[in-house]
Symmetry: D2
């Protein structure tokens, strides 16, 4: 089958690889209809991870079930499904508690919990930027979708970024009436803003400096804050009459940049501590890493970030972090899409056939051509 | 001052009564700008309560602070405020726990907890269908509103029915993606439907037989279910492909009628048990009473309703009940109004000067002239 | 293999039946070391259910894994395990939400959700009062225990009644400092009392009229309330200086009797409504049924119980009901047993070899010989 | 009246000061029966704060109501009461939400939220290490206790450290069955350990290097971990078979020392990140400050601590922080004391008359004479 394969920094190619097939009794094989390029794929693309050459990429996958193993009795061949990026066993303590993003059994790497498709350090699983994908523990992992092709682009957001943005609002405890500051208007930040309104937020600020992304934020009722135009904390404090916001969401990660383009991994955390009112909560879904060889300072290379913890404590803030357990939210978000109340596909800028994946990576990485989100359709 | 006074069954009059004044150090006196007639005022109007002649009615009040007692240090003269219908002390165990609707100290009646303005059995407090209103424990009870007259009709819903409808969705545990059935499209049911969407519901069914009310439900995106056209349970089961809804809200109360007009106090509870799926939850904000001399059966006279409890248990359902603690929700709902995300005033059908209160009661009681909600403005 | 088989009212026998075996890829077969007789087994024993002759009884099972199907990869042969009484698939919407007691897939009976071993209407599954037991979806359902035989009697409570009693306290929202009234000092009521203290209750009243059971309640620090000595509501109101309790647990069910021995299915619900303070919560784990041909009144035959709903509403009470999702609690309760902080085996009065199961049923049913809980050991 | 007055670094004296008196309508004056020296009083005593000379110290107070203002109608003269260390207004948004530790109105200092008695930067309120104490908003703030002198030492813990330790377990989301690591066996850490068991923890590790404190931990069933004997993380990982603990509580603060006595403000946070399992939660009640002129590094002087945030995120951990809202817990904890289920007084080592306060400060500061907690009794 054809698949998008990593071939070293700044290089992916669509090549022939062995067909995905049933390997375990609980596996399914999915024929991919849509698979997205994720911002976190760019970490690998840019050569900043230890991912091996030849890895099939892609963890934002959906499609139609082609084949199931002998132990699969819920999912049927022909079902249209969304595939959560987390690969989870369904029966360990963490899966039982709803933390499929920290499955204790699917990642064989020593000391690691949580697995994913086509991703560095997340286990030996191929990705879904391909014609077919093997899905372990299919009955537990797969989410059924209505047959057909309706809502394809919206549903394509269910495998990762819509639940991830939503998870940010869950960790931030966003509830009806709350004001929220989302830092980062990339796909995850935009999904967090959309989710905050689904949970009843009264006002959502979205901080970024890219005009097209800020416009997308505005298109879903958020208040854009352009940090190129001035300190975002001051702008939000002014807009809230000095009160600050009830909740904050971090959707940038450790590669935060100041307006001049310099990297400051602690920058967004500091801004959140300033802008969230005392007793508020912060959800962090932008990625931070324990080891970052490319970091500017020695402590940051070890994941040690000197942010303003003293103020964090003084204000009695709470913070939740980590990869989203997609399965905890994807059914409900699917139902909101079907009911027409959620429209996460609004961020899609490009739809390409699988063969044009290299161009998709290139555009997305360089953020040219208004590229906010790229979908690949192996069947088109 | 002028006030709406109860003078016996089907008779209210606007008469002169002694001015509201500061009686305790923590009191405030409010100049009423808007005071609503509530569906529950009709219980008194129709003579089905023990309310005494001469009682000033009205528990849905808002206005401007005219005077404060010497112990009041938060609220200032001139503040525009919403007055929660619950009169609460702010320092008993129930108030401390957020249950201001069950304040242990403000109702001197033996065995009663919870007090309200101008209402039978809810303590010796005059109502606010008047030029002025005395508010006990003003710093604790009053909610500040932006100065001026903007959103007057929306804010007027904050004293009772918007929080009451919202409380129904809270008791029913409505969350993002949920389907909800609201029984009753009166003001409270409509507020519950509006609230369910604010909390992220994917679909909300509203059951009634009055066309104008069903149309109002539709105007806020709910799916109207006309029980005059057929069994509402069957209609909802069909619309949900046999699954039923995740959550149910009771907004009818013990005076439920079947399509023929016969009273069946257990009817709505039975329908909810049928239509809410196993493991779901039900919020009951329609009023049920421990003593109902007018009930058809001997058990119902004592508040004993023979509903389908066996099925309730078998389905593992949960149920929450009771008067809403307005203060738990009114600040957040106010902020949603200011942000333009909640528009509870959509139910208002009539605005009258105080002097026309008798006509307002009459229209509302007979449900003529498209009467869904009547607002009285003593200052117009 | 040998198994306890239902042979009609008041008759069980230990007979040879076909060996339990792997039927599906996700099955395991367990060699039973301990299997309990449950109070609900007596419903079948007494002939008050539609259970068919020849059914192997027993849903409170533990033992050692003898064999696993080809799709089982977590549980290993030789593992000592507790078997939750609920048979759940692990991947339906209810299982995903932690409601394994309402699994949508394992009970093939039309209109029924939730399955169990060896029980009327709970699916075609044989029970574990036998040498061996087939366990579907073994990786999801089974709880691992430390190897050996330590804590056998305590662990034997993990399959049903300890989690069931605990579920009562969860539904009743018992938290630190709360006062609690548990109605019924049978095994489930005693487990609820034990659980309430584990959750930090300050005082737990246990209501019954059997001296030996009240003594057991006292042995775990509960305050016994003997309803043969006077109205239990009055006793508790007096002990709480008129305040009532914060939380109530129903552990009796529809076959409640007054002191004279007459059956009143609504009796305990009425008492709970009286004794739980306004804004409190009630957990109902005693069984109520939608159809009860043996009931005294026509409504009760249809599960319609005329309890004091008017007061329930007036006090703003909440109520949760239904069969316990064992898996939600059994791991934590196991850990409390291992740590020596929970000792649920305190209720065991009799340990018998499987061959003496008929005597066990007889003693337990007649409540003679101080019989509170009977354990059967097929391997002794 | 006599009071303990700060007179510069390492110097407190019992001197005559003006009598506490009613200043506002909602005030009460309390005759102090017991007032404790708190570990945080030592920050002032050691001269590391900006507290002014002449300040009356003491925020852990209890006593009997001597006089009430004209707006006080719940609390009566003669009531025995516990005084929460937080001074809160009872009607701001934070007080309404249960966050009395972040009252928006009682601290007049620009930019500060939350007030306390006799403490640097916490508002202009005198402390209670004195014969009498003025209590603002008395009806809201005071907790009634049973008359008499029973449980005096246990009740004395209700004003601060018992609720503070409990708050650590609340922020850490400790629930039944959990394993917990508490860092710090000072009074707050010991209260956290005691609280963790009240909430159902199965095992609680307490980390310290002081033998007497570790013995106190052991006396309430905790597992002592002596970090002078080896890396506490390794010791706990070994005791949990490599799994780590479910929950962690920080009860040390920014003045954490390694075994050699060197200060490392990030040390405990790093250890917690290592020892709490993925998806777990951490409650921080040890104090961290935004400005610490005495810190060793430039970032730490500004409250910027370079702890292992990358691992914190990778493990999906949650963290809650800040001063405890005493009122949220003190009623329930009082009831547990009365019921004999909580015995927080176990940490008291010294009871002195007020006149010996200087000796008490000295012993506690130098940790000599087995000094773990000092109580002052002005009336003895």
């Amino acid at each position: 089958m054809k698949a998008v394969v990593y071939q070293g920094p700044m290089k992916v190619a669509v090549t022939e690889v062995p067909d995905a097939k049933i390997e375990q009794p609980l596996d399914a094989v999915i024929r991919i209809t849509t698979t997205n390029i994720c911002g976190s794929d760019l970490h690998m693309y840019e050569g900043r991870t230890s991912v091996e050459n030849g890895k099939v990429l892609g963890h934002e996958n959906m499609g139609v079930v082609e084949e199931v193993g002998p132990g699969v009795d819920r999912i049927k061949v022909g079902d249209r499904v969304s595939v959560p990026f987390n690969i989870s066993c369904g029966c360990c303590e963490n899966c039982n508690s709803g933390w499929t993003s920290f499955c204790l059994r699917t990642n064989p790497t020593e000391g690691m919990v949580g697995a994913a498709y086509g991703y560095a350090n997340m286990g030996p699983y191929d990705g879904g930027q391909a014609e077919f994908l093997r899905v372990p523990y299919a009955d537990f992992n797969l989410l059924q979708l209505p047959a057909g092709s309706q809502f394809e682009n919206d549903f394509a957001m269910l495998s990762d970024i819509f639940p991830t943005g939503y998870h940010g609002t869950e960790l931030a405890e966003v509830g009806p009436g709350d004001t929220v500051a989302v830092f980062g208007a990339g796909p995850v930040g935009l999904m967090a803003a959309h989710s905050a309104f689904l949970r009843g937020a009264s006002q959502v600020f979205v901080v970024d400096k890219e005009k097209d992304r800020l416009n997308l934020a505005k298109s879903v009722d958020a208040t854009p804050i352009d940090f190129a135009q001035g300190d975002p904390v001051e702008q939000i404090m002014q807009a809230t009459k000095g009160k600050g916001v009830d909740r904050g969401v971090e959707a940038v990660g450790y590669q935060a940049h100041d307006p001049s383009g310099e990297e400051h991994p602690e920058l967004v955390l500091d801004n959140l501590v300033k802008v969230v009112r005392a007793t508020g909560a912060i959800g962090v879904v932008g990625v931070y890493v324990p080891e970052d060889p490319g970091a500017a300072s020695a402590p940051a290379k070890e994941g040690r970030l000197g942010w303003d913890y003293g103020t964090f404590f003084s204000k009695g803030l709470r913070m939740g972090t980590g990869q989203a357990p997609v399965k905890r939210y994807n059914r409900q978000l699917r139902d909101l899409i079907i009911a027409g109340r959620a429209t996460p596909g609004f961020i899609v800028s490009h739809e390409l056939p699988l063969s044009q994946a290299p161009q998709g990576y290139d555009k997305f990485d360089r953020r040219v051509d208004g590229c906010t989100k790229v979908l690949l359709h192996p069947d088109r």
